[in-house]
Subunit: 373 residues, 2 copies
Amino acid sequence: MTKLERGHVTLSDVARACHLSVSTVSIVLSEAPLSRHVAEATRERIRAMAARLGYHPDVHARSLRRRRTQTIGVLAYDMSDPFCIPVVRGIEEALQAAQYFSLQVNAQTQRMLFDRYLRMLLERRAEGVIVIASWVFEETNLLADIEKNNVPIVIVGRDLTARRIPSVLVDNQAGGALAMRHLVDLGHQSVAVIRGPDEMFDSKPRWEGIQDAACAAGLRIDRRLTFQLPNQVDPRSGFEGGLRFANEMLASGIGFTGVLAFDDLTALGVVRGLSEAGLQVPGDCSVVGFDDILPAAVATPGITTIRQPLQKMGLLAAQRLLEAVDQRGGRQPKARLHQLVPELVVRTSSAAPRSFPGNANIRRRAALTKEAD
Amino acid sequence: MTKLERGHVTLSDVARACHLSVSTVSIVLSEAPLSRHVAEATRERIRAMAARLGYHPDVHARSLRRRRTQTIGVLAYDMSDPFCIPVVRGIEEALQAAQYFSLQVNAQTQRMLFDRYLRMLLERRAEGVIVIASWVFEETNLLADIEKNNVPIVIVGRDLTARRIPSVLVDNQAGGALAMRHLVDLGHQSVAVIRGPDEMFDSKPRWEGIQDAACAAGLRIDRRLTFQLPNQVDPRSGFEGGLRFANEMLASGIGFTGVLAFDDLTALGVVRGLSEAGLQVPGDCSVVGFDDILPAAVATPGITTIRQPLQKMGLLAAQRLLEAVDQRGGRQPKARLHQLVPELVVRTSSAAPRSFPGNANIRRRAALTKEAD
DNA sequence: TGTTGATGTTCAAACGTTTGAATGGTATAC
DNA sequence: GTATACCATTCAAACGTTTGAACATCAACA
């Protein structure tokens, strides 16, 4: 038992222990084509010895020699955003199938870290990069170096096809329309809307979808019942905003029976705000979110929301990237825009309207129906 | 402008462009001690050319040569567990300060992936490994190879000091006691308890803490009001369990005014269950969780809970690991157990008891007080 | 004239792996 | 007897970087 005092077990350790050359051992352990020519007994002996010594090939040496790292970088703008988790899962699913490994880094919404990690991905010779970011950041020289080293890139969460970067995102416009139509179908006539921050890519198309659906239903959205979240990157800020705007809605004195919130956290903030004012959801007012993150599902009432096919988006992004990696050198195809369709998830925060809650005469709402999900 | 058709820009590209040797360029760009002897003009010329060509040192070649990777592996049992995010953030905070990089991998509660990724960390020559896992997994040959290659390891979320592995976790017993004492202080006499799954490390100490506090207060916990979550790894299962047990509590016909749930998701399940039965929280029944994850904060009512100092735990784990990495080779100090104190976070899901809700005579609860957090 | 010392730069070996080419066998075919 | 083919294994160079040692030049000192 050759126990090394320091450092890792290497090929030559195994070779020495087997009385064979490094080449033979390498060929066998990496299952190179040549290993067909190595006697089965020898192969077995080598494998056994490798296991016995606890040998693990050094990925750095291997990558250096093979000139391939089997690595894809995943740069999330904020990994603590519940949005990211399923996307990453989808990415991993695709990469695993292709024997690739994802190097995940989290910029924590800090521009400095974003640069730092991008550089790191370059230094680790990621063969491609997926960026998950719905915030609009100014892309200065970030991506220039990536191109200089011709590393393919795909972005999830916003449209950068104008920059010739393949982009994967949900059809926000359709989602916004879906949400509005849901409330319309339930019979709501007066709906308050909380729009997303300016600097968030999703904000505009969602708002357009909402307007389209309202228009189609012959509904006018009251400007005084329209609000917009400030440009804050803190993920918690959506909740605060929803809470604040709920109060403002009530203070406005204008009647409304439903609220379309920009995302689920905002919706939860609205629920909190309405509830603190003594109103019931959905008895007095329906609330609809967007994204379908965990808190929306486990809150009571469960938040009706628009689900993004996040995992599928991750999967798709990874597949597109792998294709690009494969044909690197060849002419890159035109950067495509992939828009996936969102899905309405009906929970118990939305129901047919009863009456505008101008008073605090609260009655118990009908027995909750089981969540469909 | 030497634009390479394929492959990355290397040192020798820069050297050629500068009419200097690779050594000089390396010395300058890596800011080696010798670079003091290089003329400032030369240094500047090299740096400019490197930037111009988009040069980034190859971490694989560098690691190979330096025999250091500046990399710490972080193996999370389930990264989508809200528990993990702050821990990872704490880890990164510590590593960044030490110029280390964290390689994060997510076992997604699958044993197979756990092994796979552990191997991967070994292959990438992580200088140390932090495991985040509160589930009790059988450690077969997983850690054997890690030891064979003498890679230091620290675990977060459970006590493995018996296996000579430094461990960082919250003082679950104190936390359980804190939760129980909170309800007792509010005046609750009859409290239902939902214990954690057998295979979860935290379960037992929390339960002991609860019993201790009950005992100290002269309270007896009714066995018929004690439940235990099944061994399910699906993070959503806590919610389902809470929901189910809430119904069972009510069906038992035994009076209770408070529920201690194993964790926040379970607490949210209980709230849902009570609510569906027409009861109000905290008017008819108080509910207390554990962990303080995002959904607990944004639900309405906000869930009173026991906060784990997760970020601090991550920070501490990383610091311990870095120490161990530094003195690798030297005698490892005895594996220490770090238990951090939890903190009670009072929100609006707990209040003084009023009456046992044996009927559905629901009244509106007192105006909600603002959350302290 | 030789020694020391500083300055500015390069040589060459190494890190652990892969792999095309080469080696020395043994068997089969002509 | 010599090609041809196959088998089992090894040689040696390369991947991109770092770094101890060496080199060359010049100045000052003994």
